[in-house]
């Protein structure tokens, strides 16, 4: 499926499969990053990443400052959370989280003074830091993947010695339609990205770094190229425009031709992928001692009157952002993330968290009606994981979880490509997620039973 985009750049690398949705980035592409309104009250959820939730370390009435830890990491695969404003802790409150369930949040009343916690937001000389020091700082700063997956960053930076990293990939692909904050970041803060990349190279003791940009962002490509000129370790590569190129495994395949083994991690093939936003945050954390208390977030979609790219404090209610951008009456869908993988929400009563790359308001919603699979094969041709999504959806529909597992349902990256192309409009990803959840439940049950049996003996 070679598409002739930006032919002037010659043959561009890409991965097999995938689709070319209309990218709709024109809505917000030319909006410079602006500071979002800082709310009177922020709500910092204690679970913002993949992995163990945090334990609160503040109490009602405590005075906190920006960058102060309010929730301690709950394990190795976890990241602390910090106060994003200075003020007083109003309490710890259960609030609806993006996955629909309730999670505890630290509520902080903003005193409007924006005072930093001691030592934060000051230049640091890290020239003699070793990789452990860098990793420790990244961990303290609460970094988690900002492309949306929110995997704790320091875990990625800690490959075991038998799995050396030979290539660090800085992901500026931003393949989700509509979203533009990574693009704006590349245009407006290229130096932070490059400095961040250098820090990552040091953290994992690697000598090669590729910054990947898709051909629909030629200006970002040019800017990055300009800034890396003279660097012997860092290069910029333009890729063909195709969704889901920003998915870690697909990006590694496109750039290096390597396939992350089924069930494995990028480090298994010597690669580390870091989103441009995360990379800039690594720089902020290490060079400026700034924990992750704010992030870029695109608020866009046909249902938004003035699409914008915001720099928003973590914990900012989305309603605050939407007041600024305006929302059209009759909006049908409210999505956190992009249109291909984002999570549809029933309420706007949510807050910005570390993984909130975009807020999308759409005027159209599917009826949800669907037909039998007509075996057209479009999903099979497009699946970047080379699965047979049609079959998986049929098995899941019939509740044949084990059979779905045999057909590699667990390898699905939930990119949404299959459902996007399906002419029968089958909810393939929904059914696949269902099968995965059931399999997880079965596995847990099985393990619990095994434990119980062992305990008896």
């Amino acid at each position: 499926m070679a598409h002739a985009v930006a032919k002037s750049y010659g043959t561009l690398k890409t991965f097999p499969g995938g689709v070319h949705p209309s990218d709709r980035k024109e809505l917000s592409r030319d909006c410079p990053i602006e500071d979002a309104p800082i709310p009177e009250r922020v709500y910092i959820p204690l679970s913002q990443h993949i992995g163990a939730p945090c334990k609160p370390v503040v109490e009602k009435g405590d005075t906190v400052r920006m960058g102060q830890v309010v929730g301690e990491a709950g394990g190795f695969v976890s990241a602390p959370v910090h106060a994003s404003v200075s003020g007083t802790v109003a309490g710890i409150e259960e609030r609806i989280h993006i996955f629909g369930a309730k999670v505890p949040c630290v509520v902080i009343d903003n005193d409007g003074r924006d005072q930093w916690f001691e030592g934060c937001n000051q230049p640091v000389d890290y020239s003699d830091w070793d990789h452990d020091a860098i990793r420790g700082k990244v961990r303290q700063a609460g970094l988690a993947g900002m492309g949306g997956a929110t995997f704790p960053t320091h875990v990625k930076f800690s490959p075991p010695p038998e799995k050396p990293i030979d290539t660090v990939i800085i992901n500026g692909v931003e393949c989700e339609p509509y979203l533009t904050c990574d693009y704006r970041l590349m245009l407006e803060s290229p130096q932070r990205i490059i400095d961040g990349a250098e820090i990552i190279l040091r953290a994992v003791r690697c000598n090669r770094c590729i910054i990947a940009v898709e051909a629909n962002k030629p200006d970002a490509y040019e800017v990055m190229r300009e800034y890396v000129s003279g660097h012997d370790k860092i290069s910029v590569e333009m890729l063909e425009v195709k969704y889901p190129q920003g998915a870690e495994k697909q990006l590694i395949k496109a750039l290096l031709g390597r396939e992350v083994p089924s069930g494995g991690l990028p480090m298994d093939v010597g690669a580390l992928v870091s989103n441009v936003g995360t990379t800039a945050a690594v720089y902020d954390a290490v060079a400026l001692n700034k924990p992750l208390i704010e992030r870029l977030c695109t608020v866009t979609g046909e249902g938004v009157e003035r699409p914008s790219n915001f720099l928003a404090r973590i914990g900012t209610p989305l309603t605050v952002l939407l007041e600024k951008t305006g929302m059209r009456p009759g909006a049908k869908k409210f999505i956190l993330g992009g249109p291909m993988m984002g999570l549809a929400q029933f309420t706007t009563d949510l807050v910005v968290i570390k993984g909130t790359s975009g807020v999308l308001v759409l005027m159209e919603a599917d009826s949800g009606e669907y037909e039998n699979c007509i075996r057209c094969g479009r999903c099979v041709d497009a699946c970047p994981t080379y699965l047979i999504p049609s079959e998986l959806s049929i098995l899941a529909e019939a509740g044949e979880w084990e059979a779905a597992k045999e057909k590699n349902v667990l390898d699905c990256i939930e990119c949404g490509v299959c459902a996007y192309v399906c002419p029968a409009r089958r909810p393939i990803v929904h059914l696949i997620k269902l099968a995965k959840a059931e399999l997880l439940r079965m596995k847990k049950e099985f393990e619990a039973k095994k434990k119980a049996a062992e305990a008896k003996e």
Binding site: V19, M341, E371
Partner: protein
């Protein structure tokens, strides 16, 4: 603003806009010109056949869906397509009344009913009903059927009304519509059947090839290669009236290409079938692998496979006429519009290659050695049956599995 009701559903939240009705109606549209050209060449019986088959299919679909209380899906265009394809793969002359029927007709109800039966108007309706009811809805409707419904309908008609379906074909040389004077507008054999018959006669040394037959001067023990050539020109001699075409084989191929010849509607206008097929490939509604491998294999083997043309001699290899194999019979319709049916062909690209080759192989075997002059229909139906098997053995390698670590860098 929090009063707004938002739809909550799983990602993705956008779609590429393709849907089943659009695909099916577009395929109908692409196929329509070939049917219209058929009506131009063969006249009103073709139009009647099309109307009956399409009406029968759509009616059967609506009726059955109503009976089983499921959503009536005739709007998706798939029943229409089944009817269209069915009409195109049988002889339009099924509904052509003999002169006796015409003469018997008087304007009365009884006579009208008798004429309906005498004209076999119920035969295409039954075929369409079988196609929809047994080959499609019995399996659970579009998507679940194993066999191509139109071909299943054709096979049913062939089994139930063999003489009618294979015995009468429009004779392009004699048809004059409207105000037709000529009653004997039907013929006993298509060009494929004619050729097959001649080869059989030649092998047996009978008919025109009998020793001392009037038509022949040379010895019956002719050289097989020469005999084959002779047969090929005899086909033209017998099937064509125009002396210019008789002399120039290329003109004959040209006629076959535009569809000026005996046969079903779907054998008409190979040129448009090719154009239409290319359109469908460009729209990505069919995969090029099926028609290319199907046609390639059938034509190649039709040319290659050994045939015994003269009794007592060894079989002759490489004696087929590739262009004849390509342009005669239902190969183009079958390869572009029937074997490519999404529901009844393999889902993977590799599977499509195997499927195409299999269809071509079976077609050639039936054509060269089988009892029927044409094998496309049965070849496709047989390969339809093998699709689950093909799918099982052509599963793609899942990303990140089955690769040697050494090849990873």
């Amino acid at each position: 603003m929090s009063e707004t009701k938002f739809t909550v559903s799983t990602s993705p939240h956008i779609r590429d806009g393709e849907n089943i009705p659009r695909i099916m109606w577009r395929v109908n549209l692409v196929l329509a010109p070939a049917a219209i050209i058929g009506i131009i060449f063969f006249g009103w019986p073709a139009a009647v056949m099309l109307a009956l088959c399409i009406g029968g299919s759509v009616g059967a679909e609506a009726l059955i869906r109503k009976l089983v209380r499921k959503k009536v899906t005739v709007g998706d265009g798939s029943a229409f397509l089944t009817g269209l394809l069915l009409a195109m793969c049988v002889s339009p002359m099924i509904v052509y009344p003999s002169s006796a029927v015409v003469q018997r007709y008087t304007p009365s109800l009884g006579s009208a009913i008798a004429t309906v039966f005498a004209m076999n108007l119920y035969v295409p309706l039954l075929g369409a009903f079988f196609a929809i009811a047994f080959a499609k809805q019995m399996f659970g409707g579009l998507g679940n059927n194993i066999w191509n419904p139109a071909l299943a309908g054709r096979a049913f008609m062939l089994a139930a009304y063999a003489l009618l379906v294979t015995g009468v074909w429009p004779n392009i040389e004699k048809i004059k519509y409207p105000g037709r004077e000529e009653v004997a507008a039907t013929t006993g054999a298509t060009i494929r059947a004619e050729r097959k018959k001649l080869i059989a006669l030649s092998r047996a040394g009978e008919g025109p090839f009998a020793p001392g037959a009037a038509a022949r001067e040379e010895d019956a023990k002719a050289d097989p290669t020469e005999r084959m050539k002779e047969i090929d020109s005899m086909v033209i001699e017998r099937k064509v009236a125009d002396p210019k075409v008789k002399q120039n084989k290329w003109l004959w191929y040209g006629r076959l290409l535009i569809g000026y010849r005996d046969g079903s509607l779907g054998e008409t206008c190979g040129l448009w079938l090719i154009i239409g097929g290319i359109i469908l490939i460009a729209l990505r509604y069919i995969d090029w692998r099926i028609p290319v491998f199907f046609i390639g294999t059938a034509v190649f083997l039709g040319w290659l496979l050994p045939v015994r043309v003269v009794g007592g001699t060894s079989p002759l290899w490489m004696a087929g006429d590739p262009l004849f194999e390509l342009l005669s019979g239902g190969l183009l319709l079958g390869a572009f519009f029937m074997a490519t049916d999404m529901v009844t062909s393999p889902i993977t690209k590799k599977g499509k290659v195997i499927f195409g080759v299999g269809c071509g192989l079976l077609t050639a075997l039936i054509r060269v050695y089988g009892g029927y002059p044409e094998g496309v229909c049965y070849a496709i139906l047989l390969m339809n049956t093998a699709v689950p098997l093909i799918d099982r053995f052509t599963r793609p390698r899942v990303f990140g599995t089955g690769l040697e670590p050494s090849k990873q860098t």
